[in-house]
């Protein structure tokens, strides 16, 4: 195994884009080479070592062997773990937008919270967030028909609006609440929300959305039966009928 630590030298006011911080990019490089990779801060292209301190095992290693630990304030650092196929990225604290976007494999774990667009267009691997996630978790890019297609996301806290928009596959589990329009245009993925949400499953055509507590349900969903899951009662709905959708929406009954 190869483990390296990247520490942010300070809190960044102007956000940093660091798509190079991923196991795939770093595994084949030595510590020194890693330091000379590029990152962007606004219109300034900088060396990674200008903004971060890199320490740990020297390379190279395979992607699978690679663990990257991020310490310090990464809340304004975007695109961490973009497109990673394997290995581990461990964020000790919070992370900026677009972490794990286009992720194909490996593990991205975040001990704090994640900003918007976490795991955008994810295809595989696993993302775990101990805190909250922002808007557009596991969603697609603007105008795209597909968001997340595969993999697994777990958020211990809450998630923002448009959770899993255009979801085409994979599963998302939120222990807390989710913002408005969770699972909009779901085309085959699975979403579980431990808390409440608002207007879930708008225009969903396939897939399942389970909301344990409360949800305002759209007038275009057909109320069907009450089902029991793990000893809890859920009201089942079919929809979204505006598009003759065959999705399944389950909303907890009377649990509190």
């Amino acid at each position: 195994m190869r483990s390296i630590t990247i520490a942010a030298k300070n809190a960044f006011r102007i956000s940093v884009e660091a798509e190079n911080i991923s196991p795939d990019k770093l595994a084949p490089l030595t510590i020194e080479q890693i330091g000379s990779l590029f990152v962007w801060q606004g219109n300034r292209q900088k060396k990674l070592s200008d903004l971060f301190v890199v320490e740990g095992d020297d390379g190279p290693a395979t992607v699978e062997e690679m663990t990257i630990r991020l310490v310090g304030d990464f809340s304004q650092v975007k695109r961490i773990g973009e497109g990673m196929t394997a290995g581990v990225v461990e964020v000790q604290g919070s992370v900026g937008m677009h972490a794990g976007n286009n992720m194909l494999g490996g593990l991205l774990s975040i001990s704090g919270s994640a900003d918007d667009w976490l795991a955008r267009e994810m295809r595989g691997g696993k993302v775990v967030v101990m805190g909250n996630a922002g808007n557009y978790l596991g969603a697609g890019y603007r105008g795209e028909k597909c968001g997340m297609r595969g993999g697994e996301i777990e958020v211990r806290g809450s998630a923002g609006a448009y959770l899993g928009e255009h979801l085409c596959g994979g599963s998302i589990r939120i222990l807390g609440d989710a913002g408005d329009f969770a699972g909009a245009v779901n085309q085959g993925g699975t979403i579980f929300i431990g808390g409440s949400t608002y207007l879930p499953g708008a225009e969903m055509s396939k897939g399942t959305i389970t909301v344990k507590r409360e949800a305002k349900v759209l007038p275009s969903f057909l109320k069907t039966e009450i089902v029991q899951i793990d000893g809890l009662a859920f009201q089942k709905y079919a929809g979204d009928n505006v598009d003759n959708g065959k999705g399944e929406l389950l909303v907890g009954v009377g649990s509190s």
Partner: protein, 434 residues
């Protein structure tokens, strides 16, 4: 007397304005509404460029102002170039070039009005038409969350409710007007049917209408967003019975809970109505050329607003790259505000972020943004003192005329001045380094 001038106030771009000019001054304006007349007649202006010195704005020359503006932009890692809705496309073109040159983010006031409409259109497309098509054909018009009686005073007479055309010779009498809003506006008072919906329920109401239009009403509950199912069924039937229907929508729907999803859903409703009859939909654009900056930006960068040029290749993502996002996150370090009053129009906490960074203002008029600007550059008013292109709310391009002379440069000329200063200073720096 200048005939058929184009009014540069709102997105209606009325082009039948007659203006009497005497001794280089506008004496009288005919055909324009109160909003347009007031603009064309002219009022209090910033007279000289100003640069802040020891905390106070002091008069400076244009060249000094350009140089200081260029210096601020060049020093910034992430400058924001915001506004563009009340100026010409020619200025927008130079602005985009400037944003590319200094590696900035360019955003328009669409971000605080029809930005959500743009995102909705990205989801569903826009089934629209030119306004003349509505005038000549529409027998059913829906105003959803908009109030043209106050925001676009001549809209109804020239293009919609009260206009007459080839297949609509009776004008208002031959039309059904439906207004959907949370309050009974002046527009609502003149409607055949006013549908009051609960605030934030637009999405649900539209979903219910989509169900009813498609004949799937059995699923719809008895009350949606404060409107009875019977009422909704009645509206759905009216829409389907139209020979040509038009939906105009405004900030009542883009600013409410649901945002772009509301528009997204409305676009689908209109698309589906076309399986039964003919229907079009369009946003009521506020500032006269907010449509134009969107068009120019789209053909220049591929995206219609909120374009981040910091890395050289355009990147777009409202929610991340829009002016309000960047300011709320304090993720900018300089701003050029042109043809917009960001300080007044942004939420207080967002506007406060502007006080922390150097601001360059280009505007004919003093406003709260002036008060916290580092550089203030007054300009000629496009459509009155300068020529240029603007795009009407339906996307139609018109050429604005120059009615009177001004000693002030146009926005375009000012931006060219700043661009030249950017080049000059960059060359100087390169020489120094060499």
């Amino acid at each position: 007397m200048i005939k058929d001038a184009v009014c540069s106030f709102c997105g209606c771009l009325c082009d039948d304005i007659n203006v009497e000019v005497e001794g280089g001054m506008v004496k009288r304006v005919r055909h324009a509404c109160r909003l347009g007349s007031s603009k064309i007649m002219g009022h209090g202006r910033i007279e000289s460029p100003m640069i802040r010195k020891e905390g106070k704005l002091a008069a400076a020359s244009f060249q000094e102002a350009y140089d200081r503006a260029a210096q601020i932009l060049l020093a910034a890692a992430k400058p924001l170039l915001y506004g563009w809705a009340s100026t010409s496309c020619e200025a927008a073109k130079k602005g985009i070039l400037l944003a590319e040159e200094v590696g900035g983010v360019l955003d328009s006031t669409a971000t605080v009005c029809h930005g959500p409409s743009v995102i909705g259109i990205e989801e569903k497309g826009l089934p629209g038409a030119t306004l003349g098509q509505v005038k000549n054909r529409a027998d059913t018009i829906v105003f959803w969350g908009c109030n043209p009686a106050e925001a676009h005073p001549r809209h109804s007479l020239r293009y919609s409710s009260n206009s007459c055309g080839r297949f609509t010779p009776q004008g208002r009498e031959g039309r059904k007007i439906i207004v959907v809003d949370v309050r009974e506006t002046r527009t609502a008072k003149n409607a055949d049917k006013f549908v009051r919906i609960a605030p934030g329920s637009d999405y649900e109401v539209i979903s219910a209408l989509r169900m009813l239009v498609a004949g799937k009403g059995d699923v719809v509950p008895e009350d949606v967003g404060g409107v009875s199912k019977a009422d909704l069924a009645d509206i759905a039937a009216t829409l389907k019975a139209a020979r040509f229907g038009a939906v105009f929508f405004g900030l009542g729907i883009t600013h409410s809970r649901g945002r772009y999803k509301n528009i997204d859903n409305a676009l689908s409703l209109v698309a589906e109505l076309n399986s039964h009859t003919k229907f079009v939909i369009m946003p009521m654009r506020g500032h006269y050329n907010v449509g134009g900056i969107g068009q120019v930006l789209a053909w220049s960068s591929g995206y219609p607003m909120s374009v981040d040029f910091t890395r050289g290749g355009p990147y777009f993502n409202p929610g991340e790259t829009a002016a309000c996002d960047l300011l709320a996150r304090r993720d900018v370090d300089a701003a050029l505000i042109i043809a917009a009053d960001a300080v007044s129009n942004f939420p207080r906490a967002t506007a406060e972020a502007l006080a922390d960074i150097p601001v360059i203002q280009i505007d004919p008029y003093e406003n709260p943004t002036t008060q916290l600007s580092e550089v203030v550059i007054p300009c000629a008013v496009v459509g009155v003192e300068a020529e240029g292109t603007a795009y009407r709310m339906d996307g139609l391009a018109l050429r604005l005329r120059k009615l009177v002379d001004s000693i002030l440069p146009s926005d375009e000329e000012i931006l060219v001045g700043i661009l030249e200063s950017v080049h000059k200073q960059r060359l100087l720096r390169a020489n120094e380094e060499a």
